[in-house]
Symmetry: C2
Amino acid sequence: METNTNTTLQTVITPEELLAQWQGHRNLTRRVIEAFTEKDLFNFSIGGMRPFSEMVVELLAIAAPGIKEIVTGKTAAFNEDINHENKKAKLLELWDKTTEDINTYWAQIKPEQFHDTIKSFGEYEGTVWSSIFYFIDNEIHHRGQAYVYLRALNIEPPFFYER
Amino acid sequence: METNTNTTLQTVITPEELLAQWQGHRNLTRRVIEAFTEKDLFNFSIGGMRPFSEMVVELLAIAAPGIKEIVTGKTAAFNEDINHENKKAKLLELWDKTTEDINTYWAQIKPEQFHDTIKSFGEYEGTVWSSIFYFIDNEIHHRGQAYVYLRALNIEPPFFYER
């Protein structure tokens, strides 16, 4: 085991590392969206669940608006009314826009803010850190479901460990 | 937004909070295991994937051994040869034993250790924090897949946000 040379870094994870972790996951999710045909992305489902496109809309409705709330302190209702025109290219465009928005807002989160209490979308109480972890965990959860959709469609999903 | 009164806590997440986050996820995964009938737990699958029992074995093979390595610095090969006797009760017993083992080993991780470089199971290079995040994320990923199995079996899975 190699000892960390920066002995002052007695922290589990830095804000920059958490951002990179999230964007790494989002990069993988982007490739999962790409792996679907347009038809299956918007139509295929198992066991009465939503097609993956609708889960992607949920993730888009959470990510940038969720971080924006944390930075501005201005609460907005959760809004999944996102115009994607039933097109994969449009969903990917919205995904990339969200990537930039997250980076922009993230740079404005203050380090001392992560333990503040907030109510995301005026509904979900937690700390800033637990809310952000929820955003990420929820994405991993739904992407895992998309892996089953892809396997059922006989499509090989991207490697989970490649971000 | 309520301001954090502990102004010295300028960290994203403490080791204690990360442990609680993981055990919260593990508590949910336990309820997902319980939701399956024994037969489906060990046999049901979609698209040529593993039954959920085999994913659970993977999670058991990662969790306590992974944390033990971090604490002891002694590497052991990844070993999924876990005797569960094809019984749900036995898997749950192993799950609960792992819960205790994680708590025991976790108490021995030093705060300055999270940015050390390690090679989990002699194979997977990363930092201590990124390895632990991988353990947790991988569990969320496979549990998300189990949700699809349950839905396909017409069984209502536990709420994702209840830990």
